[in-house]
Symmetry: C2
Subunit: 217 residues, 2 copies
């Protein structure tokens, strides 16, 4: 039977939402690995960022914008019941660091959206794998760091040191690869933490993560 995987999005576009290539690479890799997926995002308004100018733009709803990535098939994050899924993936982008948590502004002292904390704890309690991409490993570090979890955000030393303040252990990793914590079932890949990465390198890292995640589920 096909494994069921929840994908947590948070807008559409890396400057105020989900990194699009990371999200699409996740969906391609999931069906490639024979899995089924459902997408979720917080039903929440945020100030948008114009992706050409970098300036603030109009208000945007994270779920309605994320619907663009998954062709309209999306539900509110509140409806995500971990009992109904075998695994969960969080793509990156500033959506993860600004909308799903306050890491982008406050680092390890920040907080994680209660719905996101609930989801990470429940998947972990049920021993179901969690995939985290780009800056999203900070979500798992915040929630499960005290378990001495191992993860990667690439080789950005400042972010890695900040992550280790949560109790998590950081391992350097190239863009096209991924890091697996077998005990805690957490898989991470740096993706666009390498800002100059090319799309196929990001795809390769995400594809590896997803293949491992589906096998582990």
């Amino acid at each position: 039977m096909a494994k069921k995987v929840a994908v947590v999005l948070s807008g559409c576009g890396f400057k105020d939402g989900t990194e699009i290539t990371e999200a699409v690479a996740t969906l391609i890799s999931l069906t490639q690995a024979g899995a089924e997926y459902k997408c979720f995002a917080p039903d929440q308004e945020v100030v948008g960022t114009d992706h050409l100018t970098g300036k603030p733009s109009n208000s945007r709803n994270l779920m309605h914008e994320a619907a663009r990535i998954c062709r309209g098939e999306i539900q509110s994050l509140e409806e995500l019941n971990p009992q109904s899924f075998d695994a969960v993936v969080f793509p990156g982008g500033y959506g993860a660091a600004l909308n799903l948590s306050t890491w982008g502004k406050e680092g390890s002292k920040g907080s994680v959206l209660p719905q996101v904390e609930r989801i990470i704890r429940e998947f972990n309690n049920q021993s179901k794998p969690i995939g985290v991409i780009c800056i999203a490993p900070t979500l798992v570090a915040k929630v499960l760091g005290s378990k001495n979890i191992t993860l990667t955000i690439g080789e950005d030393r400042e972010t890695a040191l900040e992550i280790e303040k949560t109790g998590a252990r950081h391992e350097n990793c190239p863009v096209a690869d991924y890091v697996t914590d077998r005990e805690n079932k957490v898989i991470s890949t740096p993706a666009y933490m390498y800002g100059q990465a090319r799309p196929h390198e990001v795809f390769q890292g995400v594809q590896g993560l997803v293949k491992e995640l589906v096998e582990m589920a």
Copy 2:
């Protein structure tokens, strides 16, 4: 030396712009094939469509929205000089049928944006390959149909018959495959013309198209 490929976008999200999976699959496949790319879109405002409700939403600029797909690296379509590129790709989505042309409302009697017509004619005149995905083959049919060009939009009989009114020849094609017109150097793949296609099937079709396009360039 790396082949240079122009990618023409028209917003972000299939209901009022570029189909996101098709666009990302194009960019992944281009760097995978060793090519370089630059993205372009019309600097033009349109009425948006909410991707969750399907209802009209706020006004959106096609170039600023498309910038979300390509991480801010985008130029106005007017700046696309075919002399500087070896090939061009048009991903699909209603952006191609509503913003780059009026095909979505008027079928074969509709018109193509003058900038798009110019680009298709110049690449064709310079014998450089043109890749068209999903509904975007209708752009090439409108501009080059009289050359008895061969292309595919999958197996939608109504659209295929409408395309043949331009003089173009339609060939049925499954989602994961593509059709090549070697004489005119036009390559097409149906992608989300199959509305129920899975992301990896769309990726496979686009990947095949791009590999052929880069080899032919």
